[in-house]
Amino acid sequence: MSKFKLITDGLVKNNPTFVLLLGMCPTLATTTSAINGMSMGLATLFVLVLSNMAISAIAPVVPDKVHIPVYIVVIATFVTLLQLLMQAYTPAMYETLGLFIPLIVVNCIVLGRAEAFANKHSVLESACDGLGVGVGFTCSLTVLGLVREILGSGSAFGYNFIGGHDGMLAFVMAPGAFLCLGYLMVLFNKFLKKS
């Protein structure tokens, strides 16, 4: 399989949000605005690429019976690393995402890719896979965040275009997250089937 195909697969055919339906908790919770969704996506992308690479590198020497604990330790290390770095250099972003940064550890996308892909493939292939799935996740979250922000707050990427009025607040809250996600999923799969 070519490296390029690995990346585009993660973007479209294996899109974590709209096709695999993985990582729903951060997807629904952090997409209150396009910027928040994108930050969460990028944070996951960072962990995904690094943990995929590290796991594919150590997989041959990890005994079967302890492979899950070893993978979780590796993933948790990268997440904590990310948390410290964000806290130090992007405190504002760290505050918005708050609790959801440590929760990347239990994001099924990360462990899912490690189990389903990284432990059977080379480091480079795993990096490509992580990049593809991570970018796919980032795009989905940004789109979902953008739709919710436009409907819910009347702004896009923080730029308000309805002059300080309130939007449809339901879309900023949990019910709107489910509604938007459902409709976006329908659209995504319709176009996927056609092509």
């Binding site: 020497v61 005994p63 302890v66 070893v70 290390t77 904590t80 130090a88 405190p91 900023v172 809250m173």
Partner: protein, 180 residues
């Protein structure tokens, strides 16, 4: 899956993994400790500067969680940290009080209110501006719904009440300080 799952292998692999990972994190912690402390200090400093008139020096009182700001010998005001429970969790404010007991300004240190509703306590200009020069001896410190003089944020009465209570607590702290 080349390595056999016997006790020695499992202990060895898991042990080495944990050792390497904790070493890595220890290093990262040491490297990021300074920037993290600096970011936190910068945030507090910014909040104090926002809620008090011009000052040259601040002194922190750990026990009462307040900062005394002075310009030369004169006390310019007190920046008081105050936490209450809002709608989505703890709401922490920095409240600036001048020596005559009037609120100079307030600023949100941390909040976890509903985005688009209660979280507006940090962005809603109309709500935030009413705290500038709020004089508790003239105005009643509770939201309008409860018969006070504070304009609540639309559809966020609980957050507005919590915010008001936090300011009230800060004023209590101020009274305790000024009676010393």
């Amino acid at each position: 899956m080349a390595v056999k799952s016997n006790l020695t292998n499992m202990v060895l692999v898991l042990g080495v993994t944990c050792l390497v990972c904790s070493a890595l994190l220890g290093g990262a912690y040491a490297l990021t400790k300074d920037p993290i402390d600096k970011a936190a200090a910068a945030k507090t400093e910014k909040a104090i500067a926002q809620v008090l008139p011009h000052f040259t020096e601040v002194q922190y009182n750990q026990e009462g969680r307040y900062y005394t700001a002075t310009d030369g010998d004169a006390v310019v005001g007190y920046a008081i940290e105050s936490s209450t429970v809002g709608f989505g969790g703890t709401l922490t404010l920095m409240v600036g009080v001048t020596p005559d007991g009037v609120v100079y300004n307030t600023s949100v240190l941390s909040q976890s209110e509903t985005p688009g509703l209660g979280a507006k306590c940090n962005t809603d200009v109309k709500f935030m501006d009413q705290w500038r020069g709020f004089d508790p001896s003239v105005k009643v410190l509770s939201v309008k719904k409860d018969g006070g003089d504070v304009d609540a944020i639309t559809a966020s009465t609980i957050t507005s009440r919590a915010y008001t209570l936090a300011v009230a607590n800060a004023l209590d702290t101020f009274n305790a300080i000024s009676h010393e």
